[in-house]
């Protein structure tokens, strides 16, 4: 059945509000866990499940996405049939700005691509989700339930959540789906923005969307049709982190230091594939001390690191002490600097003897290329 499945991924959240993580790149290409980009997780799960026809919808400043994915070689997606296709915005000079595009607008713009594909089922998914999910099983579930739409969800009690809350009947059919504003303490079924659609149905919903001017994917495609269509829930019980904010990113980064979570995400059936960059191995100097940390290749470590996530090509000089930090690619921490709860983007330089500190719930963030 999976051979009859294609996938369309959303490289961004496609909401009007600017995302702090996606100021200079797409949400899909936010760096994560020393050497990955967020999209690697969903993409690797798709490839492992046997989905080989994958389109990626873009919104704006998607240069980093094109750069990261290339022709899809590193994910085994450079295919003559199917493979990876980056679906760029198609806008005329006088049309509405791409910035205001919703997910529905984005899907409408790739209608021709969807029509050209012969697959019966379409997976629609966000790309800012760290998880290792078996899409083949989800599609099998979709078919076995004779569903029109299947929504992946997880029982969670996140304080801040901006997706749909799903109420299920005993049969697994969704009977209500609504946005729950405000703080939630109870455990609820939170939708992961991962869906399986029958493709024919998706095409007809897109026609309605165009006719009626629908703009909100969750509200208009799911909630509006909940009584007319058979919408089923599919529970993902494994690890899952949805990354929307710096806080989410920091929390999930630190969770990767937990052996059980790391094993589940990286060492279960699906290896997580990413762009291979040929850095040399990491060199530890005579006075280096490292503890409970994840470190990529290409680093030179002469200082002390504890509970840190270190990206490629980072240099940590003698006497520098880093605790609870996430240090971005090619950053340099000079001698005797002290950092605690700091997140740096790429190419950041921290001068000697500087002391910087954030708080676990509010990490100190240093943006790309800054010198402190």
């Amino acid at each position: 059945m999976i051979s009859k499945t294609m996938c369309v991924l959303f490289s961004d959240s496609f909401v009007a509000v600017n995302n702090e993580l996606a100021a200079e790149r797409t949400l899909a290409t936010v760096p994560f866990a020393s050497r990955y980009r967020l999209i690697d997780f969903v993409l690797s799960s798709l490839v492992k499940s046997g989905v080989n026809n994958i389109g990626i919808l873009t919104k704006e400043h998607y240069g980093s996405l094109v750069d990261h994915l290339g022709a899809g070689k590193d994910w085994d997606l450079d295919r003559r049939n199917g493979g990876l296709k980056i679906l760029t915005p198609f806008a005329k000079a006088d049309s509405a700005a791409t910035r205001s595009r919703s997910k529905i607008d984005a899907l409408l713009s790739c209608r021709a691509y969807l029509e050209d594909c012969n697959e019966e089922y379409v997976i629609l998914s966000d790309t800012n989700i760290v998880m290792n999910i078996d899409f083949a099983e989800m599609v099998r579930y979709h078919i076995s339930k004779d569903a029109d739409i299947t929504v992946a969800y997880q029982k969670r009690s996140d304080a801040v959540y901006n997706g749909l809350v799903l109420d299920e009947d005993r049969d697994g059919r969704i009977v209500d789906a609504y946005y729950a504003a405000g703080q939630m303490s109870d455990c609820q079924n939170q939708g992961l923005k991962v869906y399986v659609f029958n493709k024919e149905l998706l095409m007809s919903l897109l026609e309605r969307a165009y006719t009626y001017g629908w703009t909100d994917f969750e509200r208009d495609f799911i909630t509006r049709n909940i009584n007319k269509l058979r919408v089923c829930g599919y529970e993902h019980t494994g690890y899952c982190a949805v990354i929307n904010t710096v806080g989410d990113l920091y929390k999930a980064s630190m969770e990767m230091l937990t052996p059980a979570i790391r094993k589940e995400v990286f060492e279960s059936q699906t290896p997580i594939l990413t762009r291979v960059k040929n850095s040399a191995p990491t060199l530890y100097g005579f006075e280096s001390k490292a503890k409970n940390s994840l470190i990529a290749d290409g680093c030179v470590i002469d200082g002390t690191i504890e509970n840190c996530v270190i990206f490629r090509g980072v240099r940590i000089e003698k006497g520098a002490v880093l605790k609870n930090c996430v240090i971005g690619q090619n950053s340099v921490i000079h001698s005797d600097a002290k950092l605690d709860c700091v997140i740096t983007d790429k190419d950041v330089e921290i001068q000697a003897d500087h002391v910087l500190s954030g708080y676990p719930t509010y990490p100190y963030v240093i943006s790309k290329g800054q010198v402190v």
Partner: protein, 402 residues
């Protein structure tokens, strides 16, 4: 129609490398792992690409499976090209029968057709068992400048070492007048590095003449170079002054790995302007656990370290459990070193399991008689059982269960 090339490279990768013993029981020498994430052949291949050479023939003969699958279509080295790229060239059958490659020169002779397809002006001959970074474009420029028929890369070695190498005796202008293989009383200290640039027309004629001589051992150093000198061809020595190491023995392979930890050795992998490429899978970043202590060591992707490392080189996916101690050890991919095990002055091949409390190798300080000491080697897939001891110099066969 293939396009004419200025220079193509032929990489001799057929040797067994018998002095690497258990490490080359199952793979050819160029496929032996090196430096955390490389194989020896990555060095000449990357040098080619970085020097602007886009066509490389790799001559294989001994145990080619690993080498073939490693090189594949050449994509990791950017050698998957429409015109040119990397080709694996094993010996083959013809209507006149079939022959193994009898020597280095014969291996090239048997592939004259391959080289002719590209109609190159010059051919670069390389061997697959040296660790070095070299810009062959500079050597080619020198070759052209001097209008040379053959240019041989040489290294200035010490007088004591000179008798271990093929020595080029040169005039002041670096023209070679004599070649001596491992001379007892060397007249010069310019050692051949086994890297040659030949004018293809001249080499082609020399290979055909050499093949017609039944007494020849079909070797570049022993036969082709002396023949060309005899013919009055112009042979030049091109001096190289960077890091270069023949890793044909256990101790030189271990030394070269240790050189990576010494900033003064001249061997640096991370210099951005001359990258060494390798085929690597995407492993997760390495993880350093609570009890780990690491000094002067190299660690790469997929490793999980909770033990102590000094002066060690770890390849991908190595696990070092709590209380295990590594000193001056080279540990290849997927090997597991369990609690309390000790690995010192040793090379451990891929997929090995060193069980709890086992001891492999020892510090030379504990051996006043130097002849009793040497690097301990454990072959691929072997298991060293709980509490077992592998003494210095000892070699454990691949897949052994001890």
């Amino acid at each position: 129609m293939t396009q004419k090339k200025d220079m193509i490279a032929m990489l001799l990768a057929g040797g067994q490398g018998s002095r690497l013993y258990v490490l080359t029981k199952e793979v050819a020498k160029p496929a032996v792992s090196f430096g955390g994430k490389y194989k020896i052949i990555d060095f000449p291949l990357s040098n080619c690409v970085n020097s602007g050479i886009d066509t490389v023939g790799v001559l294989t003969q001994y145990r080619p499976l690993e080498l073939n699958s490693y090189i594949g279509n050449g994509q990791p080295w950017d050698l998957d090209r429409l015109n040119g790229g990397v080709y694996i060239l094993p010996p083959y059958q013809t209507d006149k029968g079939s022959e193994w490659y009898k020597g280095t020169a014969n291996a090239i002779y048997q592939n004259i057709n391959f080289i002719d397809r590209y109609d190159p002006e010059n051919v670069l001959i390389l061997s697959g068992d040296h660790i070095y970074k070299m810009d062959y474009a500079k050597m080619l420029a020198y070759h052209k400048e001097n209008n040379s028929d053959a240019t041989i890369a040489v290294l200035n070695v010490s007088m004591e070492e000179a008798s271990r190498f093929g020595i080029m005796n040169c005039n002041e202008d670096h023209t070679i007048y004599e070649f001596e293989e491992k001379p007892k009383h060397p007249k010069s200290t310019l050692a051949s590095m086994g890297i040659y640039i030949f004018n293809w027309k001249k080499l082609r004629a020399a290979l055909i003449a050499d093949e017609a001589d039944p007494t020849s051992s079909n070797d570049f150093g022993k036969n082709i170079i002396p023949m060309m000198l005899g013919n009055g061809d112009k042979l030049m020595a091109w001096e190289f002054d960077g890091y270069w190491k023949d890793v044909g023995t256990i101790s030189s392979l271990w030394d070269a790995n240790m050189d990576l930890l010494n900033p003064e050795s001249g061997l640096q992998l991370d210099s951005g302007d001359w990258k060494i490429y390798s085929r690597s899978e995407a492993h997760p970043p390495h993880y350093i656990d609570e009890h780990a202590e690491i000094a002067e060591s190299i660690v790469t992707e997929g490793c999980e370290i909770d033990g102590k490392l000094w002066y060690s080189v770890l390849f991908s996916n190595v696990t070092v459990e709590e209380g295990a101690e590594l000193n001056s050890a080279v540990v290849m991919s997927n090997t597991v070193i369990k609690k309390g095990a000790s690995v010192k002055y040793a090379i451990i091949a891929e997929d090995v399991i060193i069980e709890e409390g086992a001891i492999v190798g020892d510090d030379p300080c504990n051996y006043p008689d130097a002849s009793e000491w040497g690097i301990a080697v454990v072959g691929r897939g072997a298991i060293i059982k709980k509490g077992q001891v592998v003494r210095p110099k000892e070699m454990i066969e691949p897949d052994a269960n001890r």
